[in-house]
Symmetry: C2
Subunit: 229 residues, 2 copies
Amino acid sequence: MTVDRTLHQFPLDPASRLVRLALGEKRLPFVEVSTRYWERPRELTRMNPSGLVPVLVERAGEAAPLVLCEPRAILDYLEEAYPEPALLGREAAERAEARRLLTWFERKFEFEASGFILHEKIEKRLLSLGPPDLGALRQGRDGLKLHLHVLEDLLAAREWLAGRRLSLADFAAASHLSVIDYFGDVPWRDFPAAKTWYMKLKSRPCFRPLLADRWPGLAPAGHYDDLDF
Amino acid sequence: MTVDRTLHQFPLDPASRLVRLALGEKRLPFVEVSTRYWERPRELTRMNPSGLVPVLVERAGEAAPLVLCEPRAILDYLEEAYPEPALLGREAAERAEARRLLTWFERKFEFEASGFILHEKIEKRLLSLGPPDLGALRQGRDGLKLHLHVLEDLLAAREWLAGRRLSLADFAAASHLSVIDYFGDVPWRDFPAAKTWYMKLKSRPCFRPLLADRWPGLAPAGHYDDLDF
């Protein structure tokens, strides 16, 4: 039976990007609906009371649609319903490491780095809150550097962030970094292992739609969609 | 083979409580190590670079110990390794709803309610940051009321938060509420369905250890460990 899949998302939202990457890697076709979630559209709030994207809706035949809200619920469902390719690893230790890093990027990286930068660069623009605060931006960039050191250390010992296999941990990191990279704020040259890792990710077919995202009126940094930056 | 299980945790940390409830409900024996995580003890940081509790360590025979960091990684592992009783439901929609609510309490409830209250009542005491800020406390209590209305609405239509079966969603909500309840800050009388639900949870064997927690020098509210409050 064919499944109709709709992802309600926002192109520069890291959590939306993470789900787009997972869907792409699993080669699951889906329709994207870009949602101005900060305006609290009623259709979105009815599906997800938290008012956040991403929300994935799957319709198969006459059954009630399956509405999946919040990134972890969507990713866990995709692993369970479409186990190949596995994006969490197969052994308990591998899975635990991928999940540890998922939380790391969802919480720690967001609180210490991307949250500052994306609030100043995106949310203030969307909500007409005035120009970026340079102190907050600096705090975000300092946090970003600390986190890039963590990535660099992990990648000195491992091919992918959680171990020998590509996993959702890589996509979680890349979903945040790719948005920051749109604004040219990732100091790649100081982190060669992270840069090589990101180039490998960028070359995957699942990444192409993200590199084609454009925010009306604001072009990305020159190297944003360059696979060999 | 016997498994030695050690949970590094802090008694008044909601995430630690959530894992204790899941372990208890699955009747998995474990040793608790109370950790002053805010002092960044080296043993903890070596296991979990984020420096946060809970961390669960399982040792079985001669194999390398399995170190599980961050609540979602621990909970997902427990579901996979010890599937009975199932704490996420069996059908896709049930599981998605339990996971949606897990994120709701991990993020939204924490940002809007418990984060304010527990920072003022616990973290300021642990870190000697001075007396609670009444404005912040009020903001947390206002947020708490809004969230209690959400619980009340869910419980008007459902036996448990995610549906017909007890799930991690109930434990996630109760882990936060039980800490706030230690300080007597949950206005139960205005939320009769939530109160009945919480009484049912409190009566479960897995809840007993939480009701026995005592913070040295600070007794809990009088009804804290009363099963029929």
